[in-house]
């Protein structure tokens, strides 16, 4: 993803031994830089995971009773009941990551202008394209990866806690039989990719606003959308725009999974994943095109507008 201009050495210095030893990696270091500055990228999901674990520790006192009740249900319902806390844990952490990602983007190109450090970043041979792409990589690649690792670790810890709590009643094995961590991890990875791609235009919008607004990036990002929704409702008495936004925020799973009737949102089989149907969704591709356009606009803005 490195841009040409960053890596192509100037012809006159190519053979200079003093420079050939140091190969630069502007993109890699730009991503690391973001993680140095924004520790909330991993701290916030970790805190939520810790809270979840603490909750399951406290809840484990009643676990034997609940498990006995669950064992009386039919196999499908039993599985659903045992899986539920693990799914909830995953969803809370994913939701946290989404909020962190949006707020990260809203500050990504605004903070450097506010504290004037953009004048320092722009004094280095790192192109605006590299900088903006490194910032877009955080919610689209880095956050999903971090979230994946944290959720798997959290769920594994929850399984250990539940095993320990169920050991005296001899039910410890029921957790491992009914919750297949390996398979659920694959499903989780797929879900995170699906969600990241679906949310790409949201992050792109937040990035563009953060590069454009002189203050109050959150209000600039949200109020215009709200205004369009209200205007549409008043003028035409329709809610197409609002339902489009709602679909963009919550609709990632609509075509990516085959939800089973009477089973809620639980996904416990690889057969329920429908990547073909997801990839055939026009909304996915329209979203990605819009995201690319918004990021391109953010690059242009950082490159061609006055630095502050």
């Amino acid at each position: 993803m490195n841009t040409q201009s960053d890596n192509t050495p100037e012809s006159s210095e190519v053979n200079d031994p003093a420079y050939s030893r140091s190969s630069t990696q502007p993109f890699f270091w730009s991503v690391r830089r973001e993680l140095w500055e924004n520790r909330s990228i991993y701290v916030a999901p970790l805190i939520v995971a810790a809270v979840v674990l603490f909750g399951s520790l406290v809840g484990s006192f009643h676990l034997p009773d609940r498990r006995r009740l669950a064992m009386a249900l039919d196999p499908a319902q039993r599985r659903a009941a045992i899986e539920l806390p693990y799914d909830i844990a995953a969803m809370i952490i994913i939701l946290t990551a989404f909020v962190v990602g949006v707020f990260y983007c809203l500050d990504a190109l605004y903070g450097e202008r506010r504290e004037r450090s953009i004048l320092f970043w722009k004094s280095l041979p790192v192109s605006d394209l590299t900088t903006v792409l490194s910032k877009a990589t955080i919610p689209l690649v880095v956050l999903p990866l971090i979230v994946f690792l944290i959720i798997v670790a959290t769920q594994f810890s929850m399984m250990l806690i539940s095993s320990a709590a169920l050991m005296p009643s001899g039910l410890a094995g029921t957790t491992w039989v009914n919750f297949n961590l390996f398979q659920q991890s694959l499903i989780l990875l797929y879900s995170l990719i699906v969600i990241a791609l679906w949310h790409a235009p949201i992050y792109g919008w937040a990035l563009l606003i953060s590069g454009w607004a002189r203050r109050a990036t959150f209000l600039w990002a949200v109020l215009p959308l709200l205004a369009i929704g209200v205007l549409e409702k008043i003028a035409f008495d329709t809610t197409h725009f609002v339902s489009m936004l709602k679909d963009r925020v919550f609709g990632a799973g609509d075509t990516a999974f085959a939800f089973q009737p009477h089973h809620g949102v639980a996904i416990d089989s690889l057969l329920q994943l429908t990547p073909g149907r997801y990839l055939a969704t026009p909304g996915l591709w329209m979203g990605l095109i819009v995201a690319a356009a918004l990021v391109a606009a953010a690059v242009r803005l950082r490159r061609y507008r006055g630095p502050i």
Binding site: P26, R32, W36, E37, S117, S123, L124, P307
Partner: protein, 305 residues
């Protein structure tokens, strides 16, 4: 790609307007390799706009080449060879000194980390500190250490010592001259603290309201301008030689001359080298009264026509 010898910065008719405000009003400029140019002007004169144009941070009209490149369209390539300090304290406040070194080493091909570390070793800056924990003077030292470790062809400094105390300012220019500058580099600096750069510069440029009002090398400066502390009995005779400025000092008059006969002036009193600051005041006060037609009576008598 640079075969023939060329100027580091070449501008012709450089112009920039923000709405109806003209920041740069047709500037011609040529800075050769190995020069240290001081760009001096009052607030809002267009200095920063000129530097931003040179650094590809703002668009402009007219012709501008920096190291043979158009800074606006070829900025990414240009920044391999140019470094700049755009203001005091633009280093990100959250970053640690070690992280800063890691980052610059990771992205800049011409950065010599060992050099930066040895500059830092002469300061009291701790490697583990965050920038926000450093004093303003230390942040300037840190930024200078980074910039001096970059083997750039052109270094641009925009008010690099603003708000620093005299010790840091002196040290800043001393290290720049002794540890960084050689004749294959070019430095452009703007500052309000003209006294301190007088012996640093090789070239001088005064800019006011987007126009260049004076441009000369320091050798020219020394040969052209002379200041005389005139004894009271000779004041009238000295004034007849058309000084460009006159100021009273301890009841005596100090007259500043451009292109005057030194032997003739020596008869009036003590002859000495003027400071850039005095010349600046003289040129600016003359320049300020020239374009807008002021009431005749208010115009000082020594203004040259």
């Amino acid at each position: 790609m640079v075969a023939e010898t060329m100027a580091t910065i070449e501008a012709r008719g450089l112009r920039k307007a923000f709405g109806t405000t003209v920041a740069l009003d047709g500037i011609d400029l040529c800075v050769e390799e190995g020069r240290i140019l001081g760009l001096i002007g009052p607030n809002g004169a267009g200095k920063t706009t000129a530097l931003n144009a040179i650094l590809g941070l703002t668009s402009y009209q007219g012709e501008l080449k920096v190291l043979g490149r158009d800074p606006w369209t070829q900025r990414d390539g240009l920044m391999q060879d140019v470094s700049f300090i755009a203001d005091v304290a633009v280093l990100p406040r959250w970053i640690r000194v070690t992280q800063l070194l890691d980052y610059v080493a990771g992205v800049h091909r011409r950065f010599d980390r060992v050099k930066a570390e040895s500059f830092l070793a002469k300061t009291t800056i701790k490697r583990t500190s965050k920038v926000r924990e450093l004093s303003k003077g230390m942040v300037a030292q840190l930024h200078l250490a980074l910039v001096m470790a970059i083997d750039a062809k052109l270094l641009v400094l925009d008010e690099p010592t603003l708000g620093l105390d005299i010790l840091y300012r002196k040290q800043f220019y001393d290290s720049l001259l002794n540890d960084y500058f050689d004749h294959s580099r070019t430095i452009v600096v703007t500052t309000h603290q003209v006294e301190e750069v007088q012996d640093v510069l090789t070239d001088l440029m005064f800019i006011n309201r987007g126009r260049i009002v004076l441009q000369c090398s320091m050798e020219e400066f020394d040969s052209r301008y002379v200041e005389v502390m005139v004894n009271p009995e000779h004041v009238t005779a000295a004034r007849a030689l058309k000084p460009i400025h006159e100021r009273p000092v301890f009841g005596r008059s100090v007259l500043l001359f451009d292109h005057a006969d030194r032997d003739q002036l020596a008869a009036f009193g003590e002859v000495r080298r003027p400071s850039i600051a005095d010349l600046f005041v003289a040129v600016m006060s003359n320049n300020a009264t020239a374009p807008p037609p002021l009431p005749r009576q208010a115009t000082a008598p020594e203004v040259t026509k």
